[in-house]
C-alpha cells in the first residue's frame, strides 16, 4: 500500500505542471536551455555559475550575506562575472518563479527581478511566488505589464526552465542548491556547494585568477 501511495505521489509530481497547463508539444526553439544574462564584464577571467532555486532557503542566505561582497570586490572590478541557472525542484512555485525571471529578461530586467525574488522569499509554496505576486513584482519594477502577463500566462519559458532543471540534475549531477561552479579562462574549475561564506569564495576565486 505504501508503495502504491508513493508511486501515485511520484506520478502526480511529474505530472503536476502538465495538469495545470495546456501546452502544446515543445518546438525546437523551446528545447534549448535558457540562462541569465551575464552579470559583470563579458571578458572577466573567472565566471561563477550559480545553480539555484528561488524558493531555496540556503540560496537566500547566500544572497543576503555573500553575494554583495562578491559583486563589490570582484564583479564590479571586472575580474569575475556571474550567471544563474535555475534548478527549480523544491515546489511548484519554483518553476513559475524561474519562468517569470525570463519574462523579466525579455524586458532587460532579469537581475532586478532576480533580486526582487530573493528579497521577498518566504516558505516553500507559501504563496509568496504565486502568479499574482510575481506580477506585482513586475509592476514594482515598472515592467510592461501586458507583455509580462502574456509571457507568464502563456508559460513561454516552461520547457526551457524544465530543460534547465533536467540538465542541472542529470547532465551536471547537481544534487543541492545553491551550487556554484567557478571556471577560469584556462578551463580550470572548482565547485562550491552550499551557502558558504565570503572567505571561501575569496580563496577559490583568488586561486583561479
Amino acid at each position: 500500500m505504501i508503495v502504491v501511495a508513493l508511486a501515485i505521489s511520484f506520478t502526480s509530481y511529474l505530472g503536476q505542471f502538465e495538469q495545470t497547463t495546456t501546452l502544446s508539444s515543445p518546438s525546437s526553439d523551446e528545447m534549448v536551455t535558457v540562462q541569465s544574462p551575464v552579470l559583470g564584464s563579458e571578458s572577466a577571467s573567472v565566471t561563477i555559475v550559480e545553480v539555484g532555486d528561488y524558493q531555496c532557503e540556503m540560496c537566500k542566505h547566500w544572497f543576503d550575506n555573500t553575494r554583495q561582497q562578491v559583486i563589490d570586490n570582484y564583479i564590479d572590478s571586472g575580474k569575475v562575472n556571474m550567471i544563474f541557472i535555475d534548478m527549480p525542484f523544491l515546489g511548484t512555485d519554483s518553476h513559475v518563479a524561474s519562468m517569470a525571471s525570463y519574462c523579466a529578461a525579455d524586458q532587460e530586467k532579469y537581475w532586478e527581478y532576480h533580486v526582487m525574488l530573493y528579497e521577498h522569499q518566504e516558505g516553500v509554496d507559501s504563496g509568496w511566488a504565486s502568479n499574482e505576486r510575481l506580477k506585482s513584482f513586475a509592476f514594482t519594477l515598472d515592467l510592461d505589464m501586458n507583455e509580462f502577463s502574456q509571457c507568464l500566462d502563456s508559460k513561454k519559458y516552461y520547457y526551457q526552465v524544465k530543460l534547465n532543471l533536467d540538465k542541472s540534475m542529470n547532465s551536471f549531477g547537481i544534487q543541492s542548491t545553491p551550487t556554484f561552479l567557478l571556471i577560469n579562462t584556462s578551463g580550470e574549475q572548482q565547485q562550491i556547494r552550499g551557502a558558504q561564506s565570503y572567505s571561501v569564495f575569496e580563496r577559490v576565486i583568488e586561486s583561479l585568477l
Partner: protein, 158 residues
Amino acid sequence: MENSIKFVFSNYRYVVLCAITTLALFFPLSIISEYLYLEPYFIFSIYDETAFNFSLIVILSVVAGIVVSMNVFRVRLVKDAKKIGSSITGTVIGASAGACSCGPIGFSVITTFGTAGSIASSFLTNYEIPLRLLSIGILLLVLFTTMKSLSLECKINQ
C-alpha cells in the same frame, strides 16, 4: 536528584561516552543542516539569521550526549532499557528537522517521493526551530526521569 549526574560522571568512562555521543551528533547534524562544509575547505558557515538554529544543534547534541550516557549507566545498573526509546525519538526529531530541503538529503527525498517528499521536506524546513525545541524538550524530559529513577534505584540498591 542532581547527585545522580555527579555520581554517573564521576566515572570517566561515562564522560568519554558523553563526549563521543555529543560529537557524533554535532558533526553530522551540522553537515546536514549545512552549517559545516568539508569541501573545498573545512569551514563553519553561520550567519546571523542561522546562529540561533546552530545553537540549538549544540544544545541538542550536548543534552543527547548526557541522556545517552546516563541511560547506558542505568541500563547496566538495573537492566532496564525503557527510556532509551524516548531519547532516540527526541534525537531523531531533532536530526530530521535539520535536513535542509535545499541540500542533498532534501533533494533525494523530493526526487524519490515527489509531492509527498516535497511536502515533508518543506514541513521539516519551515518548522525547523519548533521541531528542534520539541526534540530538546523530549530529551530534557528523559533526562529528568532518568535522574529521578536513578536516585530512587540507587537508594534501593544501597
